[in-house]
């Protein structure tokens, strides 16, 4: 029983990472109907950036917030310079651009920092918190950070006028422009936010999965499974899906398929959802009026 609870709890910790990664995917999907396949590699690169800062002697939280800020700006720059020229291109062209971006970041990280696996610090020290014997301090901390990110993102979109404008721009670009919203910038801002959220996901995942240029490949697939499960047009469905996939993946890995083949759980979820409930658990059924 205690072993089971332990597996459940670790699932929640990685689930939090998948949840906010899924949120980052949804943010760009809602505005463009495209999945950013480079989201994981961008997050990995951000994590290396944080690692480098700490390697230079920066304290954890300073490195953390500097990385989030730099990732935010980096996301905006990528949208402006690389993604935007393909705004009116066919879907396939955009996907190729995303895959290209992923390869570039992967290669760049390997070239700059090497391919060997390195360990990544956690700010959450100690063996466990609050007598919670089923989770390490880092796992507890990662869950809390994930929940904090979800709450902040919710508050931003729900209560600020900039958040409202971003939602409007994603929903109805023409009407948004007619009330003076700079839709192009809203999209860039979305990329910035997604990159910043991805950076946090990377920094929370790295102490668990260790840091190497391929660390986010699996994470992105789980996050995608979470987003699809919850409904890729619904941020909170996607976040819920992320947690659910984290727990499911861990339990299946421990008791059913073994940890070597647990990635197939994510793929099974994706295919299963697409076949039986393509709009996800909480997504809206797409009905086209002809």
């Amino acid at each position: 029983m205690s072993e089971f609870l332990h597996q459940l709890a670790s699932g929640l910790a990685l689930g939090g990472v998948y949840a906010i990664m899924a949120l980052a995917l949804v943010m760009i999907y809602q505005a463009t109907q495209l999945v950013n396949f480079a989201q994981g590699e961008m997050a990995m690169f951000s994590t290396y950036f944080a690692w480098k800062l700490m390697d230079m002697g920066w304290p954890y939280w300073r490195a953390f917030f500097a990385t989030v800020a730099v990732s935010f700006i980096g996301g905006i720059v990528i949208e402006r310079l690389i993604v935007r020229p393909f705004a009116n291109a066919p879907v396939l062209a955009s996907i190729i651009v995303f895959i290209g971006l992923a390869l570039i970041f992967n290669a760049l990280a390997g070239w700059l920092y090497g391919y060997s696996v390195v360990s990544f610090n956690t700010p959450f020290s100690g063996r466990s918190w609050f007598g919670n014997v089923y989770m390490s301090a880092h796992e507890s901390g990662a869950v809390l950070v994930s929940l904090a990110v979800l709450a902040l993102v919710y508050a931003f979109f729900r209560f600020t006028s900039l958040g409202l404008a971003m939602r409007a721009a994603a929903q109805n670009p023409t009407s948004s422009r007619l009330v003076g919203i700079r839709v192009g910038w809203m999209l860039a801002l979305g990329w910035g936010l997604a990159a910043a959220i991805g950076a946090i996901a990377g920094m929370m995942a790295a102490p668990i999965v260790y840091l190497d240029p391929n660390m986010m490949g699996g994470v992105l697939i789980y996050a995608f499974a979470g987003a699809v499960l919850g409904g890729i047009d619904n941020p909170f469905g996607a976040a819920f899906g992320g947690f659910a996939v984290g727990v499911l993946e861990n339990l299946m890995g421990a008791y059913v398929v073994g940890s070597e083949t647990k990635l197939s759980v994510a793929l099974a979820i994706i295919i299963g959802v697409l076949v039986w409930r393509p709009y996800g658990l909480f997504g809206r059924r797409l009905v086209a009026r002809v």
Partner: protein, 238 residues
């Protein structure tokens, strides 16, 4: 005679490679109401889209003498040109309140916002009742009211309306036109009105422009247009 608020000279517009407007000339006087009349497909909606910069256009467009023909849609909106598009442009997944707040988004002055909300709710009390409701669940007439209110919250000096009567019951159309007249009279907002219902449009307008296949076929005062035999037979139906 004061300068017109909007002046278009040689306005051309294109949908991709297809030219839709072939050099339109017309003005909207300060505090005036100009109606764009014409049959389906004549280019009325296209004219508004061209003025707002939603489609490729050429020609001299001036807002109070300032050229706006090269500006982006966002910048034109920020200069005080509000465009109520065909289909009403509702943000269907947002609430009525959020739709209205978006109207005020680009405004520098946030302080009179409450007053402006009260003003549009005075015109359209039904929106106040539905404030927390998702805008997509409103009836067509209510969405038209919402679109006009959203445009008013941008504090426009020129309000461009694309078929505000479309798909509405006659009583509702009358109400909306009465309110448009009040907006023009009491707030000094100039109107550029695209309307299929020529009789209704000519009641409200002081000037009218008749468009046929992307060209101005005739223009003049609303009275003169109404008196013209060919306009009467073709567009007024008597």
């Amino acid at each position: 005679m004061s300068a017109p608020i909007l002046e278009a000279k040689g306005l051309k517009a294109y949908y991709g490679p297809v030219q839709a407007l072939f050099g339109l000339d017309f003005v909207v006087e300060e505090r005036g109401v100009t109606a764009l009349l014409g049959a389906n497909g004549a280019g009325k909606t296209t004219t508004l889209r061209a003025l707002s910069g939603l489609i490729a256009r050429e020609g001299d467009i001036r807002l109070r003498g300032k050229p706006i023909g090269a500006l982006s849609t966002e910048d034109i909106a920020r200069l005080g040109v509000a465009h109520v598009p065909d289909g009403r442009g509702t943000f269907v997944d947002l609430t009525v309140d959020e739709n209205l707040r978006l109207g005020a988004y680009a405004r520098a002055d946030g302080k009179d916002l409450k007053l402006d909300f009260e003003r549009v709710f005075a015109y359209f009390p039904r929106l106040a009742e539905r404030r927390r409701q998702q805008a997509g669940t409103l009836s067509g007439g209510e969405q038209q009211m919402l679109a006009i209110s959203r445009a008013l919250l941008t504090r426009p000096s020129l309000l461009m309306l694309d078929e505000p009567s479309f798909g509405l019951a006659p009583m509702l159309v009358e109400e909306i036109f009465r309110i448009l007249a009040a907006i023009n009279r009491d707030e000094g907002v100039s109107l550029l009105l695209v309307e299929q219902n020529a009789s209704l449009a000519l009641d409200l307008a002081d000037h009218a422009v008749l468009i046929e296949t992307g060209r101005v076929a005739m223009s003049g005062s609303a009275l003169a247009m109404r008196a013209d035999g060919s306009v009467r037979r073709a567009y007024l139906g008597y």
